[in-house]
């Protein structure tokens, strides 16, 4: 009985030693709004549409991304443009539905769609969650933390 008590006290001290040792280990906490995490190259954040070298839209409106999307978050409307060419009238991604799985990027046959490292996507209403063509062509506007 007495021996058991001694053993349990030793074990408690052993546990305490681990905790105390951590006082001298550098902290691993990232002070989030002030310090920022640099994401990996392959990070799957907010989608973005790309322009080609001539500054024209790469997207040809084939709708493969809309087709592969498991949650049907992408809506594309196409129509006839100048010179009888097919034109993308609207391109919308509802990021409230988006899974960020990256299947749309893999499906794009023109490399027009990519994923950025942007992960701060909160907004005040649902309408702000729907990114239109205009929003997807430029870098997303993000409110950065100011001290």
């Amino acid at each position: 009985m007495r021996q058991n008590i001694i053993i349990s006290i030793i074990e408690l001290i052993r546990g305490l030693a681990v905790t105390c040792w951590h006082l001298f280990v550098p902290s691993v906490t990232l002070q989030y709004p002030r310090q920022r995490w640099t994401v990996a190259n392959r990070y799957r954040g907010l989608e973005r549409l790309l322009l080609n070298e001539e500054g024209k839209e790469r997207c040809v409106g084939c709708c493969l991304c809309a087709r592969i999307c498991p949650s049907r978050a992408i809506k594309i409307v196409t129509g006839e443009g100048e010179d009888y060419n097919k034109e993308v009238i609207s391109f919308e991604i509802d990021i409230a539905r988006c899974l960020f799985c990256g299947l749309c990027v893999e499906a794009c046959p023109k490399n027009a769609l990519t994923m950025t490292g942007e992960y701060e996507l909160a907004c005040y209403n649902r309408a702000g969650m729907i990114y239109t063509k205009e929003g997807l062509y430029k870098s997303p506007e993000v409110t950065k933390y100011k001290k």
Binding site: I7, E11, L12, R14, G15, V18, A40, R42, P70, C101
Partner: protein, 392 residues
């Protein structure tokens, strides 16, 4: 003297130690539990039904949402099932990387388990230490596939892309430091008097009962049954790697299940160490033009590849008319996918065998023998359930 009555108490669905949205209806005689009735379904999303309206490739990201702590294991089980349906051979290189990622996932899942289980019982410190190490694993996932949590990091036939630069070094670094960290958790818990009193001889289930209640994974091995699908029916490249199956000290209580999972983390570490040294060269995805979409460079230059790409994205592949079952040893136990194909591009029926669902029912047996309300918390913690896969 007036007769005492049984009291009924609701535990959950918003109880922090039921690990999600599990509701337990407890019948109490004083403080002793006489009956327990689990009530599930609060997180039902109809994932099995969703599969019937998706092509095989489209369903993969949805499997992340089953056992969300072990998304990689879900991906692997689903990919293996579809590959079995198609009779598709996966390249060795892809298999090795798959093993590395799933074993890291087992460690990550067990780290969440040790953190929350200890937190439920009253030890706060291991929670902080375990999540620190889990971050390192999530960093590896971010490096490989770009997501930390819902990874979708495999494709049918192999991997979406090859391992990036710095991946091997990062894994090696983690494997090097991790065994010492497990020692740290053990120093805090394994022989701690409070921990022993709370876990020893609590929630006992015998080996025979465990098998009858279809327990699997570490919960069954805690009862002393040496059953591990990685050894019994090796998938991927597990037959080329060396590891032991830990069993507890043979009582089948909460403490035994704890010991098994702690040892399993060390074994997983050993597997990763071997696999990372053995990664062979070659392709990272199978060369099957009718199933796997062609690489992007060819899609942009070759019209035939472009046609294949369009056909595979729009229609998907059409597997033969067949029924298959494929299972893996997920962190929680046997995770299986049963697919019925009617020859079309979508599964006719997809049944998921989640380990937590089968493990939870053994709570009826574990509660026997004068368990108290506080012991239920320890028992649920030791079963390591995730409601995402119970309700699906």
């Amino acid at each position: 003297m007036p007769e005492t009555q049984e009291m009924i108490i609701n535990m959950g669905p918003q109880h922090p130690s039921t690990h999600g949205v599990l509701r337990l209806v407890l019948n109490l005689d004083g403080e002793i539990i006489t009956k327990v009735t689990p009530d599930i379904g609060y997180l039902h999303r109809g994932i099995e039904k969703l599969a019937e309206d998706m092509t095989y490739a489209q369903f993969l990201p949805v499997t992340d949402r089953l056992d969300y702590l072990a998304a990689v294991s879900n991906n692997l089980a689903y990919c293996l099932a579809v590959e079995k349906l198609l009779g598709l051979e996966v390249p060795k290189r892809a298999s090795y990387i798959r093993v590395i990622l799933t074993e890291l996932n087992r460690i990550a899942s067990h780290l969440v388990w040790i953190g929350t289980h200890a937190l439920d019982i009253g030890a706060y410190t291991p929670f902080l230490y375990a999540f620190r190490e889990r971050e390192a694993i999530l960093d590896i996932y971010e490096l490989f596939c770009g997501a930390r949590f819902t990874t979708s990091c495999f494709r049918i036939g192999g991997l979406p892309q090859d391992i990036p630069a710095g991946f091997v070094e990062k894994v090696e670094k983690f494997v090097k430091i991790f065994p010492k960290k497990v020692d740290e958790y053990e120093a805090l818990l394994t022989k701690n008097e409070i921990w022993l009193r709370r876990t020893q001889f609590v929630g006992i289930i015998s080996a025979e009962d465990g098998i009858n209640y279809s327990l699997s994974g570490p919960s069954l091995r805690g009862s002393g049954v040496k059953w591990d699908i990685r050894k019994a029916e090796p998938y991927c490249v597990y037959d080329e790697l060396e590891f032991d199956i830990p069993t507890g000290r043979g009582v089948g209580d909460v403490y035994d299940r704890y010991l098994v999972r702690m040892e399993e983390m060390r074994q997983s570490c050993k597997i990763v160490k071997q696999a990372i040294a053995k990664i062979p060269g070659g392709d990272f995805i199978a060369n099957a033009a009718k199933i796997v979409p062609p690489p992007k460079e060819r899609v942009l230059t070759d019209i035939e590849a472009l046609i294949h790409h369009f056909k595979l994205v729009v229609e998907g592949f059409k597997p033969p008319k067949k029924e298959v079952y494929a299972c893996i040893e997920a962190p929680k136990g046997e995770l299986g996918f049963y697919i019925v194909s009617d020859g079309s591009n979508k599964p006719y029926r997809l049944k998921i065998r989640p380990p937590s669902f089968a493990n939870l029912q053994s709570i009826y047996k574990m509660i026997e023998g004068g368990m108290m309300v506080a012991d239920v918390v320890a028992i649920i913690g030791s079963l390591d359930i995730v409601l995402g896969e119970i309700d699906r």
